[in-house]
Amino acid sequence: MTNHNTTSLKKAILNELEREFVLKKGTLKDNESLNQFTWDSLSVVMLITMLSKDFNIDVDPIEITSAETVQDLVNIANSKLKL
């Protein structure tokens, strides 16, 4: 997988999370815990559909809800990025 793809994937995930949790753009850090945010099922849907639409990545919803940090989520998505 190219560095360009992984970089843009990480950026897209951070953007999506910041939008979903109404955070100032650029403030979310890799090591931040996801447990501090209030997820609802629609938040998970937004992430799943974005990854599928923009990166052709299919992530199991359970994997998203089991991720503890932002970086965990990025790693999960990266592992499914098709060459």
Partner: protein, 339 residues
Amino acid sequence: MTHFAKIKNIEYVLGEQEISDELLIKENPTWNITNISLKTGIKIRYAVKPNQCASDLAVLAAEELFNQANFDRQNIDYILFCTQSADHFLPATACLMQERLKIKQVCGAVDYNGGCSGFVSGLGIAKGLIETKQVNNILLITADTYSRFIHPKDKSVRLLFSDAATAILLTNEAQNESIGPFSYFTNGKGANNLIVRDGAMRYPINSESKVDTIDCYGNTRSNVNLYMNGPEIASFSMVSVPTVLNKFLENNKLSYNDIDFFVFHQANKHMLEQLRCKLNIPTNKFHSSSCDIGNTVASTIPIALKRMQLDGLLSTGKKLLLLGFGVGYSIGITLINWV
């Protein structure tokens, strides 16, 4: 003499209780409803009164159909009733419709449990009945009252679904094939992701059935309420719909350019937009504006067709691809050559 099935008329009725964002915010101040409505595109939900059934909406839709189509109901040979909210376990609600609509007794009447792909399935069944010359004219009804399954404190579904009924008149008057081909897909592994668990034969009502529980997102429901695992449904939709659709087009030697309009099950605006982008379908060919009235289950596609017709979009010869997807899991696809 030709004997091809065609869609002759469509009418629809929505539940008469309007549930606005304002009403929901008043009841549930902690729900971020405005934000959710922006994403789903749903402006108002519609619900039946507490003692109203899907069949009550269906009668209204059918009467409107007979009136608008100027069609003698005594020429109906078959009633197909698509519902997941039947009046009784038995008899079929379609039989009750025969009596309530005063349709002749020399008539078939069956229910089928179709859900989001139910309209496409109904077209397939109707085409088979008509084009094998078993019958000439069919009253196809889609009707659901999900509001009666939904717990008022379950945000995951309360904001999404509406009650409605559609009545569709199918006749044998088409000169050429107007409906079809078809493709169907089923994956029962997804059954538990959109379900009303208790109350039928597998899990009859017991002392635990109506006990409320709260899920990890703070939604309240019991086993007699509708449960929808939105993320799993979304995941299924984003994977299976493109796969099945592309296979359908390939098998029928069609390209996206051959289709004038794609009319998918109007689940919600966000889901449709994600699918449209993934499939690279231009916006002017993709109908999604019927999401504003909420997810009416099997009725979303016929309601969309009626609205498109009223907007003057459906002229003779237009090629429509209808795709229902959801509960089951199930997907149904068909082509309509509009006549």
